[in-house]
Symmetry: C2
Amino acid sequence: MANRKTSPASAQRSEASWAGAQAGRFERPSLTVDVVLISAAEDALRTLVVRRREAPEAGRWALPGGFLEPGEPLEAAAARVLEAKAGLAGVFLEQLYTFSEPGRDPRARVISVAYYALCDFGRFSSVGATPDTTAASIEVPWEGETGGPVTLTGQGDARLAMAFDHAEMVGLAVKRLRGKLDYAPIGFQLLPTSFTLFELQRVHETILGRPLNKDSFRRRMLASGQLEATGERQADVEHRPAELYRFSRRSAI
Amino acid sequence: MANRKTSPASAQRSEASWAGAQAGRFERPSLTVDVVLISAAEDALRTLVVRRREAPEAGRWALPGGFLEPGEPLEAAAARVLEAKAGLAGVFLEQLYTFSEPGRDPRARVISVAYYALCDFGRFSSVGATPDTTAASIEVPWEGETGGPVTLTGQGDARLAMAFDHAEMVGLAVKRLRGKLDYAPIGFQLLPTSFTLFELQRVHETILGRPLNKDSFRRRMLASGQLEATGERQADVEHRPAELYRFSRRSAI
DNA sequence: TGACTTTTATGCATGGCACATATATTCATG
DNA sequence: CATGAATATATGTGCCATGCATAAAAGTCA
C-alpha cells in the first residue's frame, strides 16, 4: 500500500500524476526567495539592493535573494539570505507574494517567493557597504492602496535600473505596509526599542506618503495600548526633550 | 557571454550556483496549487472539499489542487484546477499564501501556492456533486484578525477530517477575507449580479461572524459609491420588495 | 379594508478625529 | 539672567461616522 502509485497532496486524480511528476515528466521549476529589506529614513523608505555583475540584467540592481535549500522552509531561506547578504538576524520577516510569470527570468522557469523584512534605520545603515550594495530610496508614484512598481533611486537621486520584476516586489511591499500599518504593529519594527512619539509619527508618514495630524496620532497611539512609557527622556536635543516609549507586546487583547 | 555560467536571478554570488541548481544538485521541490473556493450560505461560509481515495491521508478531505504545468503562471494553474474540479470559470481568484513546511506532505517536498476564489452561492451550489465532493461549512473558532486553522463540517454537522495543512489554508482565506472586506469589493463577488442591500449585509455578517448595524451598513454602502441601483425590485416576496442594486466598478476614484 | 412584515427615510445623541489655540518645558544664546 | 526657539502637552470646537429610535412607504395576505 505504501509503495503503490499514489496521487499527490494537491492533485488527486489529476492528469499530472504523482509518479509522473516524480519522474520529472513535468518541468520542476527552480524556487528562490527574494527579500525586500525595508527601513525608514527621514525622507523616504529605503531598501537594500545589490548590483548584478553577470548576465542577464548585468549592471542592473536586484533584491538580495537565493535558492531554496533541501528541506528548508521558505521563511528560513529568507532569513538565511538576509543574514548572508546583510548580516541581519532576528528582524521582522513575513511572506509577501509568489512571483511566477514564465518570462520573469529569461533563462529558465524560476519562481520566486518574495519576503519583506523590517528593521530600524540604525541597523539598516550599518549593513555591509559593499561597492555593489546600495540603500536605495523608494519613490512611490501611486497613492494609497493602488499598488504597482516603484522607482528606486541611489546616491544623488540617480534612478536605479531594476532587474527582473524586483521593482514590482518593492512596490507590493510598500502597498502591504500601507495596508497593515493601522492594524498591525509594524511601525515599531522600523524603530529602535525606545523612541519618541514624533519619531513614530514620522515613520508612519514616511510609509503612507502623506502628513498626519500630530494630536490625533498621539491620542490614537496612546489609546491603542501598544505603547509603554520608559520613564526616560530624549538626550542631546536642543529643545524640550520628549518622553521615550517602547512597544508593549501584551496589547493583543 | 550568453553561454557563460551565470548566477540566477535571485541568487547572485550565492553558494547555490546557477549551474548547480540547473544540474539538479539542489532538490527541486514539486509545485502545486490549492484553491479555497468560498461562497456564503445563509448561516456560514462554505468551501469545496474533495475526499481523498488514496494514501496518504486516504479518507480525509482536501482542497481541490493540482500540479503546476510547464510554462504556466500560478494563477492560470489555479484557474485550471477550478475549471477542472468545479466547472467554474471567470470567478474572482487571488493568491493567498505559499505553504512550504518540509513535513507538510509525508512523501516528498511539495510546496503549494494556495489561492482563494469567490463565487455566489447559486453557482457554488450547482458545481458537480460527485460522491467525493462536499460543500463544507466553515466554522471559525477565533475572532477578528487572529487567524489559525478552522473546523469544516459536512452534512449533519459531521466534522470533516482535513488532509495535510488544508485546514490552515481555509483559515487563512477567512482571515484574508475579513481583513479585506471593508476596503476591497469582495462582498459583491459572493453575490449574483443584482442583489439587495440586506443580502449584502448578510454576506458581510457571515464573513465577519458578527451582526452589523443595519442603518449604518446601508449608509456606508450607499456612500461608498460602489453601488448602483438597477431600478428593479425584488419579486415573489411577501412583504415590501427591496430595491435591487448592482456593483459599480467605476468607483475606483 | 386592515393587519402584518420589511424596506426606506429621518431625526438625534454619542464618540472619534482633524484642526486650531494656548500653555508648559527645556535648552541655547546674547 | 532674560529672551527666544523648538517641542511637548493640554484644551476647545466643529465635522463626520456610527448607533439608536421613530415614522412613513410598499407590498402580501386574511
